[in-house]
Amino acid sequence: MNADGCTWVDEVAAELALGLLSGAERAEALAHMERCGRCQDEVSSLTGVAEQLLLLAPEIPPPAGFESRVLARIDPVPEALRPSGSSGTGRSGVTRTRNGRRRPPWRSVLGAVAAVLVVLVGAAGVWVAFADDDNHSQVAVTVADLRSNHNGDVVGQATVRHSSPPVVELEMKEWIDALKAQGEWPVGDWLIEVQDGAGGSAHYPVRLAESPAKVTLVEPQPGSDRLDMTNLTTVAVRDGTGHTWCTAKLNA
C-alpha cells in the first residue's frame, strides 16, 4: 500500500463511487485499489451510499408495452452466466453445460424438473433454491462450490436436494480429468464424507466416474454417525486412504 495513493484515492473516492471520474483517473484509482484493501472497502461503502441515494428517483410509469418489450429482449441464458475465460471466481453458483455455456446450477440439478423460484441467494459460493420435484412438491436445493483442500480453488460443485432422504450430486469432472492427465488422480474407491451441524459425520461410497456423481444419503458405511439430515453442513470427497481432496461448505 502506498500512502500517497491512499490520500489521492481518498479524495476521489466519492466521485469514483458516483461514476464521475474520467477514464484515466478511474483506471488509476482502480489500479491502486487492486493493491489496497482499505481503499477498496471505502469505495465499496460509498458506492452503497450512492445507490441508496438513487432510491429517491421519482416514480414515473413508462409508456404502454414497456414490460413486454423488456421481457422480449431477455434470452433464457444470461450472458453473465456464459463462459468468460475465468472460472470459479467470486459468486460461482453456475455450472457449464456441454456446449460451453454456463447456466444457473439449479438447472443442471433439476434437469427437466422446473425450478420455480429461487428464494435465497446466500453467501459466496452457496445458492439455495426451491424447486418442484417430480411429485410437484417443493424441495429445497443447496448448491455450493467444491473447493480443493490443497489450494482452495473452486474445482466443481456439490448440490444437495433436501428430499427425504437427501440426494448429493457432485460435478467435478473437468477437475478429475485434469488431474488424471497429470497422473495425479489415484485409482481406487472413493467416499463422500457428509457432516451435520452437531459435528456428526457419515461416509457414503461414490462413483466419481459418473458425472454428476449422485449419492442418495441412505446406507452409510459402518462406523458413521447418525446425521441430522435437516442440518447438513459440509460434503467432502475422500479417497480410499482417507485423504480429503475437496470440500463443499453448504452454509458458507
Binding site: 466519492a14 416514480e59 418489450r69
Partner: protein
C-alpha cells in the same frame, strides 16, 4: 409471487422465470423509467435506457451481491450508468438540460411523495426511502444540491460546478463531503 421479496423476484428474473420476470419488471419499471427520464429529459430515450437497464441487470445478475446493497439500489445504479452513457454521448445535451432548475425537482418529488404517510408502500421500503430522504435533508444545502445534481440528475462534476457557478474544486469538495456525511447520517438512522 406478488408478495415475494425483491431479492427472490430478482433471482427468478435472473434465471429467466417468466412469471418472476413479469412481476420484477412491474415492481421496478416506474422507478427505473423515472430515473432514466430525469437524467435523459427525453421520454423516447428514457424508454430505451430503462429497457437497457433491465436487460443489463439480467445479463449481469451474477454480479449482484446481496451483502453489499439492495436490488433496488443496484438496479437504479445500472439505470443511471446506462443513462449517463447515453446522454454524455449526446452533443445536444447541454441545450436540453436546463441547469438552472438543477437540484430541487427530483428531490422535492421524491421526498414529498416518499415521506408522506399516505404512501402505500411496504413498511420496509418506506423505511428505507424515508431514511435516505431524512438523511439527505440533514446535509448542508450546497452538499445536498451537489449530490442530487450528480446522481438523480446525472450531471458531471464539471457540469454541476458550472450550473452552481462555483470552481471545480469546490464542486468536488461538496460531493466528497456530502457523500461521506450522508453515509454517516444513514448509519445513525440505521441504529
Amino acid at each position: 409471487m406478488w408478495d415475494a421479496s425483491d431479492e427472490a423476484l430478482f433471482a427468478g428474473f435472473a434465471m429467466g422465470d417468466p412469471q418472476a420476470g413479469t412481476v420484477f419488471v412491474r415492481r421496478f419499471q416506474a422507478r427505473v423509467f423515472g430515473l432514466a427520464l430525469v437524467i435523459t429529459r427525453d421520454p423516447v430515450e428514457a424508454d430505451e435506457v430503462a429497457q437497457d437497464a433491465f436487460v443489463r441487470a439480467w445479463r449481469y445478475a451474477a454480479s449482484f451481491d446481496a451483502r453489499r446493497g439492495s436490488v433496488a439500489g443496484w438496479l437504479l445504479g445500472i439505470t443511471r450508468n446506462v443513462a449517463l452513457d447515453n446522454v454524455r454521448l449526446d452533443s445536444n445535451r447541454k441545450a436540453r438540460l436546463d441547469l438552472s432548475d438543477a437540484g430541487e425537482l427530483a428531490l422535492n418529488l421524491a421526498i414529498d411523495v416518499r415521506s408522506s404517510d399516505e404512501v402505500a408502500e411496504s413498511a420496509e421500503r418506506h423505511d428505507a426511502l424515508a431514511r435516505v430522504a431524512y438523511s439527505l435533508r440533514a446535509l448542508p444545502d450546497e452538499q445536498r444540491e451537489a449530490l442530487v445534481a450528480v446522481t438523480l440528475q446525472g450531471l458531471t462534476t464539471r457540469e454541476y460546478a458550472e450550473s452552481a457557478g462555483v470552481p471545480l474544486g469546490t464542486a468536488k469538495t461538496r460531493i466528497r463531503l456530502g457523500l461521506r456525511k450522508l453515509r454517516q447520517r444513514l448509519e445513525i438512522h440505521a441504529e
